[in-house]
C-alpha cells in the first residue's frame, strides 16, 4: 500500500475508539512488557476468566496496534525466559495516551450512567 494511503488510514483509525480486544491488550501491557501468551493470561486473569482471547483474536488486534504505533516489539527479555524465540511487546507513549483517553471516556460514561441511576457506583465490582 502507498505510504500516504497508509498514513491516512492510520490517522482515520486513530480517531476511532479502540475495540474491546485492543483495549484489553493495551491494559495488559500497561504495567509490563509481555509476550503473546502472557497477554492472553493477563486478560483472562484480570477478567476472572470471563474474557478468553485466542491467538487469532490477540494477534489480529496486535497487528492493528503495531500499525498505529500504540505497541512496539520489545528487545528486552526477562532473565527467566526460556530459549524459545518469543516476541515481547511494549506499550508506547502514544499507546498509553490512547488507553488513558479510552479509560477516561469509559469512566465518564459510567459516571453518567450512575447519575441517571442505571448503575450504582457502589455495586461496581472491585478491581483485582
Amino acid at each position: 500500500m502507498r505510504p500516504i494511503a497508509k498514513k491516512a488510514m492510520s490517522r482515520r483509525r486513530s480517531q476511532q475508539p479502540l475495540s474491546p480486544i485492543e483495549f484489553q491488550v493495551l491494559l495488559a501491557l500497561a504495567d509490563e512488557d509481555r509476550h503473546g501468551y502472557g497477554i492472553m493470561q493477563e486478560v483472562s486473569r484480570r477478567s476472572k476468566g470471563t474474557v478468553r482471547l485466542g491467538p487469532g483474536a490477540l494477534y489480529g488486534a496486535m497487528k492493528r496496534l503495531l500499525e498505529q504505533g500504540f505497541v512496539e516489539e520489545s528487545h528486552k527479555r526477562p532473565k527467566d525466559d526460556d530459549t524459545r524465540r518469543r516476541c515481547y511487546y511494549h506499550l508506547t507513549r502514544a499507546g498509553r495516551a490512547i488507553a488513558c483517553q479510552q479509560a477516561e471516556t469509559l469512566a465518564k460514561l459510567i459516571r453518567e450512567a450512575a447519575e441517571k441511576r442505571l448503575i450504582s457506583l457502589k455495586a461496581l465490582p472491585a478491581s483485582t
Binding site: M9, H35, G36, Y37, G54, G56, Y59, K63, R85
Partner: protein, 213 residues
Amino acid sequence: MLHRKYAVKLSLLAYRLLLFLYPIHFRKQFGEDMLAAFEDWLDDECRQEPCSLAQVWVIVLWELPLTAAHEHADRVRRCSTSELIRYTSLAARVFALVVVPLVAWQVTLKFAMPWEEQLPLWLGLVGLAWGAVATQGRGMRCLLSATMGGVVGFGIGLLYGIFLHPPVGDWFGGIATLFALVAVAALIGATYVRVIVEGLRIESRTSRWVPLI
C-alpha cells in the same frame, strides 16, 4: 500422560495447518508467535487436572474463521483500485474462457438450438472473451467497456434463447448461480495467486515488476 503428549503434538500440527487460513502476510508476521502462544496455552492446560484441551479447541475453532475472514477482508480493503481491477479481470478471463462457453455449449446441445438462434449467444461470448483478454494492457476503460459489452451481448443472447425456448428459462437460474459462484471462486483464487507471487517477489528482493495479470 503419553496420550496427552500425543494430543498436544497432534493439536500443534492441526493448528499449524489451520494457520494457512490466514493471509500470507499475516502468517509470515505472526504465524510463529501464534503457534508459540498456542503451544504455551496447551502446556498450561495440560498441567491442570482435568486437562481441558477441548476447551482450548472450542475457543480456537470459534475465533479462527472469524479472525481469518477479518484479516482477508482487511487485505482486500487495503488493495488499491488497480489491484482490485486486476483480480476482477483474471476472474473475468476464467469466466469468459472456460465456464461460459462450456455452459453455452451444453445449453445449445440440450435444446437443439439452430445456428441462427445460437448466433447472438456466441456473439456475446466472443465480446466477453475479447473484452476480458484481448484488450489487456490497452487501458482499463477499454477493457471494462468491452467486458460490459460482452456481458450485455451474452445476456441478450440468453434472453433471446429464453423467449424462443421456454425451458432455457428454467436453466437460467441455475446457470446464473453457477456463474456467480465460479466468479467468486476465481476472484478468491486470483487474490491468492497474486498474494503468493507478491510474497515470492518480496522474498527474492527484486525490484522488477512481475506482471501476473
